[in-house]
């Protein structure tokens, strides 16, 4: 593991070099908000941005993505047969991704990379990406990453961790991919390991201490699924929800999608597009029957999936990294931290030890 000092005056030159070897992406301000955008040669990512409005999941998993193309023209030999579409999977690098958003890919991978099936679109894009993270010194008040299996200096899912140190960045190369990235930029001022590690550790402690909202997840696994599903608080949780789907679209760990054919004249494409468990159509049967026909069902599905089903299915932590986007952007202030506490505490009152 290497530590590299990047003088800020060498930042732009390095990025310029990198743009020959990578397609670069980073936070860019668009009107009032930041989002991840392509950084062309000569442009710079805006690293002041704390958290983009949409998560960077779209760089690996676009909101709309062509899967196949086909012709409906019966005079062609290949009519009505699905054909692969060439994808650009040349190396890309995401600069200034926050540790929570990078960790989110690790959680989502469990869905797209299974022993039985591998999603080629997601995996190829993920494998072609280098994640250059930026540690958070001043987390938002709505962030709760430290109790959501993550943290402001969390390294899991990153190839490089950048720590802002005023006139320079301290870069910690975490993987071979990360080392390759740093050397492609010509950033090679290696610094002493011990000192750098100590410096980062101290900054990390300071940042973690600033995160004051905490959630408890310790009991989620042991509570019975059906009991939790039938808990009386769901009506109350869902009461004000307008099923707008914002929470799922902004979330870095939501992955649901739809598949549709789009025709234009005698040809077309099979595409996949993000979908949301908040929409009634998501589960509507052709017969008109809908197993999740009320918003209570749908709100419950979202929280149960993230905080219970995922935990049980993969025997892991929760499917949330505590980025706080859904908390900040829900128009009616539904707060996953509050719901998580209700779920985690459910039945705790009656539980008494035999001894």
């Amino acid at each position: 593991m290497k530590f590299i000092k990047i003088e800020k005056e060498k930042w732009a030159v390095g990025l310029e070099k990198l743009s020959d070897a990578y397609r670069l992406f980073g936070p860019v301000k668009e009107s009032d908000f930041h989002n991840f955008k392509r950084i062309e040669k000569g442009e710079l990512p805006d690293l002041i941005c704390l958290n983009t409005r949409l998560s960077p999941k779209t760089l690996v998993y676009p909101q709309a993505e062509a899967m196949f193309e086909y012709s409906l023209d019966e005079s062609r030999e290949d009519h009505h047969i699905m054909k692969e579409i060439e994808k650009d999977i040349t190396p890309q690098a995401v600069i200034g991704i926050r540790p929570c958003d990078a960790k989110a890919f690790i959680l989502v991978r469990k869905n797209f990379d299974t022993p039985e099936y591998q999603d080629p679109y997601w995996l190829r894009a993920y494998e072609s990406t280098t994640f250059v993270g930026l540690a958070c010194h001043f987390p938002c008040t709505s962030c709760f990453c430290t109790t959501a299996g993550c943290g402001p200096f969390h390294e899991e899912g990153l190839d490089v961790l950048l720590v802002d140190a005023e006139d320079h960045y301290l870069a910690k190369a975490l993987t071979d991919k990360g080392e390759g990235f740093l050397s492609a930029a010509g950033w090679d001022a290696e610094v002493k390991k011990d000192r750098a590690a100590k410096q980062i550790e101290a900054e990390k402690q300071k940042a973690e201490d600033k995160i004051t909202t905490l959630i408890n997840t310790d009991r989620l696994k042991q509570i019975d699924t059906v009991d939790l599903y039938k808990a009386p608080f769901w009506e109350d949780v869902a009461f004000s929800c307008i099923n707008c789907g914002t929470c799922t679209y902004v979330c870095p760990t939501c992955w649901c999608f739809d598949i549709q054919d789009e025709n234009r004249g005698a040809s077309g494409m099979r595409i996949r597009i993000w979908d949301s468990c908040m929409f009634p159509l998501f589960t509507l049967h052709g017969s008109g029957h809908n197993p999740r026909n009320t918003k209570v069902h749908r709100v419950r599905q979202r929280f149960m999936h993230k905080l219970k089903y995922y935990v049980d299915k993969y025997d892991s932590g929760i499917q949330c990294v505590g980025c706080g986007r859904c908390v900040r952007l829900c128009p009616v202030n539904i707060d996953i931290r509050r719901v998580c506490d209700m779920m985690n505490n459910y039945g705790a009152g009656q539980d008494t030890c035999a001894a």
């Binding site: 899967m67 692969e84 869905n111 080629p120 739809d258 598949i259 549709q260 998501f282 589960t283 149960m304």
Partner: protein
Amino acid sequence: MTFYETVNVEYSIFKGASVQNPYLPYPVRIDGIVVESEDKNLKTFKFVFLNPEDEAKFAYKSGQFAELSVTGKGEIPIGIASSPTEKGFVMFTVNKVGLVSSYLHAMKVGDIMGIRGPFGNWFPWEQMEGKNIVIIGGGFAFTTLRSSIIYMLDPANRSKFKDINVIYGARAPGMLLYRDELVKWEKRDDINMHITVDGTDDPNWKYNTGFVPTITEQKAPVADDNTYAIVCGPPIMIKFTQPVLDKLGYSHDKIIMSLENRMKCGIGMCGRCNIGKEFVCKDGPVFTLEQLNKTPREY
């Protein structure tokens, strides 16, 4: 490379590893269409693979389903109605419901489309060997049950199972699927058929009249440790059949059901078909009632 080989491109995602794209359908041609029901809303489609190697790749078991890919319209999950013992084609019976199924109903023999699969688990054939089997089906959910019956009656398999009872009901005689086969099975002595209709004014109707739960109560064998019940049908039939099976003493680990949640991917990724932590497409569609009791039962 032939044309069709180039269609089935394999990916190399990681160095060395090569992965088949699970979303890519096998190209097929419609080889036969049979109108099954008098209201013409049910048609059986026989498909042959354009690329003969694909038939072997599509090796399936009774109870599994596939995604029928109607190019330009979309995909629908449909239970496989043919049996693995039938070679050279695959068969599906499709109810005309919405966008894709209606378009498929208007297609003709010779038309090209695609099939993805097989997906999901199957009826627990290994576990059911040496046991009595009671099949209870209603309406057009009889498709994978047809597959199962053909499979069990195959000379190579019949001796693996003890008594086979089939209770199958539809609204009216003209709504029963696979009528020629039903008549043939009716005449055999190695399978007990209990065909029923909700009602009929046909004076020549020689089988039962009454709802499936009622006929089940009259005809199904009393439960023992060696008897499995496979139940497939509309929600209302399932709802009223369960108390009957309880009364007959069937334990919930011997009651096997197949679910039909809305699906897209068929491989546990698109996120819509779950009941609790189980994806119906991948962890199901076949579950025992005992398993379902532990889920939120959102189906």
